[in-house]
């Protein structure tokens, strides 16, 4: 096919197979309709919230003032308290994620299409996951603070409760994407359903599960900060207090510490992943 086609030949091909040259009329109109609907939605929300260039500009100016007050960051006088709060946040994230990661394993198997073949059971379980996922960590934290009192226990329970449903859903999806051929081989060798899960599915999905859990640990270290603001333990309370009295230099110090902590966790978890998954 090194020879270029003449205009007539191109026209002949176009009339022979028009769909190869442009989407058909209906498909094109449909695409235009959705593009217009998306733009209209965007414009409406911007108008609704009164987003205007001068407001954005003034907001950025205010932020600039705060950032100027943050330099240079300073630990203040209570740096032992700060370190203790930070350690508490990391510990809360670790404990909460570990609980969620383990509880979610059996739930994930029960929610996977290729394991739980009973449609009604699986459907109901998945809707329960959806319900739990619809409630944010912060709401759980507020509830647990009333139930078990102020302190890190409320934070741990909030993290675990909120993440069980999310991790169970992610695990279930990983299990559904596991390769059928490997699973079939265990069944063909005479393995019981439990052993099929153990040897056919688990080796395939374990690295994915571990990856999700490590990512959630890192992400929860960040969100554990905010739990402190509502009294569920950790560094959050210290930040909230300093923002109230506008000690921005000390806020900046805590933020920098948190960034370093999250970076360290990210580094360690990527090492663990490479070591255990071999990828």
């Amino acid at each position: 096919m090194s020879r270029a086609l003449s205009a007539d030949e191109v026209a002949a091909w176009r009339s022979r197979m028009p769909a190869a040259f442009a989407p058909a009329g209906a498909a094109r109109a449909w695409r235009l309709f959705w593009a217009a609907a998306f733009l209209a939605w965007l414009a409406t929300t911007l108008w609704w919230f009164g987003v205007t260039p001068p407001r954005l500009w003034n907001g950025l100016w205010g932020l600039g003032v705060i950032i100027r007050q943050m330099v240079p960051p300073s630990p203040g006088e209570q740096w032992v308290e700060i370190l203790r709060g930070l350690a508490e946040s990391v510990a809360m994230a670790f404990l909460g994620t570990a609980i969620a990661a383990f509880v979610a394993i059996p739930l994930g198997f029960l929610g996977a299409r290729n394991v739980a073949t009973n449609m009604l059971f699986r459907f109901s379980l998945r809707r329960v996951f959806d319900g739990f996922r619809g409630i944010d960590q912060l709401i759980w934290a507020l509830a647990y603070v009333r139930a078990v009192g102020l302190g890190p226990l409320a934070g741990v329970l909030a993290i675990a409760t909120a993440d069980i449903a999310v991790l169970a859903k992610l695990y279930a999806e990983a299990i559904e994407n596991a390769e059928r051929r490997q699973i079939e081989a265990i069944a063909a060798a005479g393995g019981s359903p439990t052993l099929v899960m153990r040897f056919g599915i688990l080796p395939q999905v374990a690295p994915i599960m571990l990856g999700h859990a490590l990512y959630f640990f890192e992400s929860n270290t960040r969100s554990a900060t905010i739990l402190g603001v509502v009294g569920a333990g950790g560094i959050g309370l210290q930040i909230a207090e300093r923002i109230r009295v506008r000690y921005w230099d000390e806020v900046a110090f805590i933020i920098l510490l948190m960034v370093v902590t999250v970076m360290a966790i990210d580094w360690i978890s990527s090492r663990i992943r490479r070591r255990l998954i071999g990828a």
Binding site: M1, S2, A4, L5, E9, V10, W13, M17, F21
Partner: protein, 272 residues
């Protein structure tokens, strides 16, 4: 003329390709044979520059292509199209778009690049792609997703993609190793058609001596990265095969000597 001189590639301590020198005139159909790990794939990937040589040079039409960079390298790659064992089509794109990928490097300028990003191709390019698909009996599949096609169809789509590059050389890396005999024949026929009708130089890696003998003008046999034989198919007799590989032709193909009764010990009554 493709001139390869002392081409060598090390991976760690192993020499995948070890001092290979070949002269391949334009329009020749060359079968490269050897067992897995003989360095056939690495040789082809070195020519396309998917792998960088440790030493040696590759020249085409008198020009050294082993040191090209940037646009010049992309032009060289367009000129020596690759066909892979696992077809390497983009599974979620339709067949037509997969074939049009062969045109990407023919579209020059920032504007054409932008059009490519939005998958806009001209009517002439689309018509050429359709004509190419039609030539290999694939027109009906043009608007299907690539992953809905059988292996043999996918490999022919890959050949169409290669032809759209308007290459001078076609490098086929084990193109039939994943296909059944029927489809293997269709794909090998397509490669020969490309060689005879379009006058392309074809380098094809093959597992089986019979296929190479039936389709190729010339056979290059490799063993542990070295060229052990280079000549007409007729010269590669059973004796030569035995000499190069130290095994009979049947054993070369992996048909081990027939089992002599002992077999695998079975627990008594296991199948009773």
């Amino acid at each position: 003329m493709l001139e390869i001189d002392g081409l060598t590639r090390h991976f760690g301590g192993t020499r995948a390709v070890d001092g290979v020198s070949l002269r391949i005139p334009d329009g020749q159909m060359v079968g490269v044979i050897g067992r897995s790990g003989a360095g056939k794939s690495t040789l082809l990937r070195l020519i396309n520059r998917l792998v960088e040589p440790t030493a040696g040079s590759i020249r085409f039409g008198g020009r050294d292509v082993s040191t090209l960079r940037g646009q010049a390298l992309r032009d060289w790659r367009t000129g020596c199209a690759m066909v892979f064992q696992q077809f390497n089509l983009v599974q979620r794109l339709d067949v037509l778009t997969n074939v049009l990928i062969g045109r990407l490097n023919h579209r020059r300028g920032a504007l054409a690049h932008l059009a490519s990003l939005f998958a806009h191709f001209s009517a002439a390019e689309r018509a050429t792609a359709l004509a190419t698909l039609d030539r290999f009996d694939l027109l009906g599949t043009a608007l299907q997703r690539a992953d809905t096609l059988s292996g043999g169809q996918q490999q022919r789509v890959a050949i169409c993609r290669a032809l759209m590059q308007q290459p001078r050389i076609l490098l086929a890396d084990e193109p039939i190793a994943s296909l059944d005999p029927q489809n293997a024949r269709v794909v090998m026929d397509a490669l020969r058609q490309v060689n005879r009708q379009d006058g392309l130089t074809v380098l094809v890696n093959l597992h089986h001596l019979d296929t190479a003998r039936a389709y190729c003008d010339r056979i290059v046999a490799m063993q542990q990265g070295r060229v052990m034989f280079d000549g007409a198919p007729g010269e590669l007799t059973a004796d030569r095969v035995a000499m190069i590989y130290g095994v009979s032709e049947a054993e070369f193909h992996g048909h081990a000597a027939p089992l002599t009764g002992s077999g695998i010990a079975m627990p008594a009554g296991a199948l009773a």
